[in-house]
């Protein structure tokens, strides 16, 4: 062994320590507050539920019931459909905003960026309640409609599917805008200039150069918004009517009304597995990480 070898070993050890220092706290945090609780949910999902009590007795009944009862598939599909609709609205709404901030807003970029981040400082409960005030029978929207003479009676917006969708798009829109902004911002300006030098007009430049290069951001944004929408609990609860319960609301009722944690756990685990499979296929198809940097 030469001195070089020892030095290399020292460097390697230092690197390892550095790595541990970097990822250690985050890993520990996730371990204690995510992996352990997830493990408890998984373990409980195989327990029995007898006479209102959780009995640590192995059973597959909870999982069988998830697939036996059409109700859960229905709610699951409904949640997926809400996810797709919200993505379909948030993408065309969010893309131009991201494009504007990345391309046009040279001087005000920081202010606009801040405006995007500010909603995160307010609790989602407050933001969702704000829609209740805006859309309520005696809310601002109805007041304006009535003052303008467009309607005589207040129009009911709240407690309906549109209200839920409006709330979800609003709450999750920044998650669409930020990744798209990031991938637009990373593009080299020369590419667009080159396209235009070669005779492409602005529309063609956008369609052939800018948009394809921003696809990784679009894919990430769609994924984030979709996942968060599908698993949302609060918005359908506050803004929804009698028919807008989503999968999280059903899971909540198992945990807090029947105390059937085993079945609630089985629903959660099934939902999680479906989401992971979906995510794996999606990222394989779209190559989420591969393209993101280029």
């Amino acid at each position: 062994m030469s001195a070089d070898g020892t030095a290399a070993a020292t460097v390697a050890r230092r690197e390892r320590l550095k790595l541990a220092a970097h990822i250690g706290p985050g890993t520990l945090w996730l371990l204690v507050f995510f992996v352990v609780p997830a493990f408890i949910v998984l373990r409980t999902s195989f327990y029995s539920f007898v006479d209102g009590q959780i009995v640590p007795q192995f059973t597959l009944e909870n999982y069988l019931r998830v697939f036996r009862e059409p109700l859960y598939a229905e709610v699951f599909v409904k949640s997926l459909a809400y996810g797709l609709i919200v993505v379909a609205i948030a993408l065309p709404v969010g893309y131009p905003v991201a494009h504007f901030i990345a391309r046009k807003a040279r001087r005000n970029r920081e202010i606009l960026f801040l405006a995007l981040i500010i909603p995160f400082w307010t609790s989602i409960v407050v933001r969702t309640y704000a829609w209740k005030i805006l859309l309520g029978n005696s809310g601002l929207v109805n007041y304006l409609l009535q003052s303008a003479g467009i309607t005589d009676e207040p129009i009911r917006f709240l407690f309906s599917l549109p209200a839920v969708l409006i709330g979800l798009v609003h709450v999750f829109l920044p998650y669409m805008i930020l990744p798209i902004y990031a991938s637009l911002e990373k593009q080299e300006a020369e590419l667009e200039q080159a396209a235009q030098d070669l005779g492409a007009n602005r529309f063609r430049t956008f369609v052939r150069i800018t948009f394809p290069l921003s696809l990784p951001g679009v894919a990430t944004g769609c994924m984030l918004v979709f996942i968060m929408t599908v698993s949302s609990y609060l918005t359908p609860d506050i803004l929804g009517g009698p028919s807008q319960a989503m999968i999280s609301n059903v899971i909540q009722s198992e945990y807090f009304e029947t105390y059937n944690w085993p079945f609630g756990g089985a629903l959660s685990v099934t939902f999680l597995v479906f989401s992971l499979v979906f995510f794996a296929i999606y990222s394989r198809l779209i190559k989420l990480d591969g393209g993101a940097a280029h």
Binding site: Q53, P56, Y259
Partner: protein
């Protein structure tokens, strides 16, 4: 020394490995969540009423009332320092007490959760010899339907009430007499119903002429609730939510609590409250001693104080406006009318049979989720 032994020695020398840690952490957390159900009760018999008492109750106005009308006279009488804390819901509190990680000496509790708390040994039996006022409660609270019926008592009652028809008397001129009023197409989109599965089943049972403590035909209830759905604006979750819906005129008729309706009236919403001919489900706010209690004697003295007729009178007339559990509480006729504290109402009140509910709640919840889907 074999290689394996060396490895294991090194591991011992190096302290717990990550896997050990994970196993321990998972064990602790899992034990806290479910295993705690089986831990034996920590019982300390003390004769002196002193020291510190950790009391937990519902938040908001409720907590203020407990502080002013129960804690204050208790601290004036005994050398005990009470620390009052709040929780969001009985469900939350049950999970906490079952986990058994935190000391709680006395806790308020919804009647529907008392049974589960007893079954999971999360609360201690009351030593009635230390609670002389216990016998002043209405018979229904001394032998409650919401306990397990093992010959012991685990809860005392504080206040109780019913959940009957609340309606906007400006919009609905004729006083409703039956739960069927919620199905009236005139009120389409103006109706709300409590959205918990047990609450839905209770109203559905009354609408189909059944006893919600002995349901014969759950399908009929499901059909009825599905028929009601087109009329509904919303399944309500919290009292403040429905209060707001009544106050803004978005809901005209719903199942609601008497005290909330009184409050709406005081705040200017024209409201009526009627117990329909089919009857109305009742509820009780109970007080229990969790198994993590570390000052049992003081806890029992506190419960005794909560049952004192004078304390109860102040609590229900100045604090939380529902009927007191102590039948010897002196109330004027006007107060009885307002609080729903007439003896006749006591006698006709139907409480949830908790054992029956516990064995059926799973089925009910599935039905309720089907109705909502």
């Amino acid at each position: 020394m074999s290689k394996r032994e060396l490895v294991s020695r090194r591991r011992i020398g190096a302290g717990p490995t990550r896997r050990d840690f994970m196993r321990t952490a998972a064990g602790i957390a899992a034990g806290a969540a479910v295993g705690g159900l089986a831990l034996p009760a920590v019982v300390r018999a003390e004769d002196k009423i002193e020291g510190e008492l950790l009391v937990e109750t519902f938040g908001g106005e409720y907590s203020d009332a407990v502080q002013k009308y129960v804690v204050a006279p208790f601290e004036a009488k005994y050398p005990v320092k009470v620390k009052l804390a709040n929780f969001g819901s009985s469900s939350e509190q049950l999970a906490k007490i079952q986990a058994g990680n935190a000391r709680v000496d006395v806790s308020w509790f919804g009647d529907s959760r008392v049974y589960l708390a007893i079954k999971s040994s999360a609360i201690l039996p009351l030593r009635l010899e230390n609670i002389p006022n216990f016998g002043q409660q209405h018979e229904k609270f001394q032998h409650p339907a919401y306990e397990v019926g093992d010959g012991r008592n685990y809860s005392s009652a504080m206040v109780w009430g019913d959940r009957a028809i609340a309606y906007n008397s400006d919009k609905i001129a004729t006083r409703p007499v039956s739960w069927d009023a919620l199905l009236d197409p005139q009120w389409k989109g103006r109706v709300a119903l409590k959205g918990s599965s047990s609450a839905m089943v209770q109203i559905g049972a009354l609408m189909t002429g059944q006893d919600f403590n002995a349901i014969k035909d759950l399908d009929a209830i499901e059909k009825k609730l599905k028929a009601l759905k087109p009329n509904l604006l919303k399944y309500w979750g919290s009292g403040s939510e429905l209060t707001q819906l009544f106050a803004t005129g978005e809901v005209w008729i719903a199942d609601f609590w008497r005290g909330r309706v009184n409050k709406l009236k005081e705040d200017g919403t024209p409201m009526g409250y009627v117990v329909p001919k089919e009857g109305a489900p009742s509820w009780v706010d109970c007080v229990v001693v969790p198994r993590t209690c570390a000052n049992r004697r003081a806890a029992e003295a506190f419960i005794d104080m909560s049952l004192d007729p004078e304390v109860q009178k102040n609590f229900v007339t100045k604090g939380i406006n529902y009927a007191p559990s102590n039948v010897h509480t002196q109330l004027s006729d006007a107060e009885r009318e307002r609080l729903g504290a007439w003896p006749a109402i006591f006698d006709s009140a139907v409480f949830v049979d908790a054992a029956y509910q516990a064995t059926h709640i799973d089925e009910w919840n599935q039905m309720a989720n089907r109705v909502k889907a």
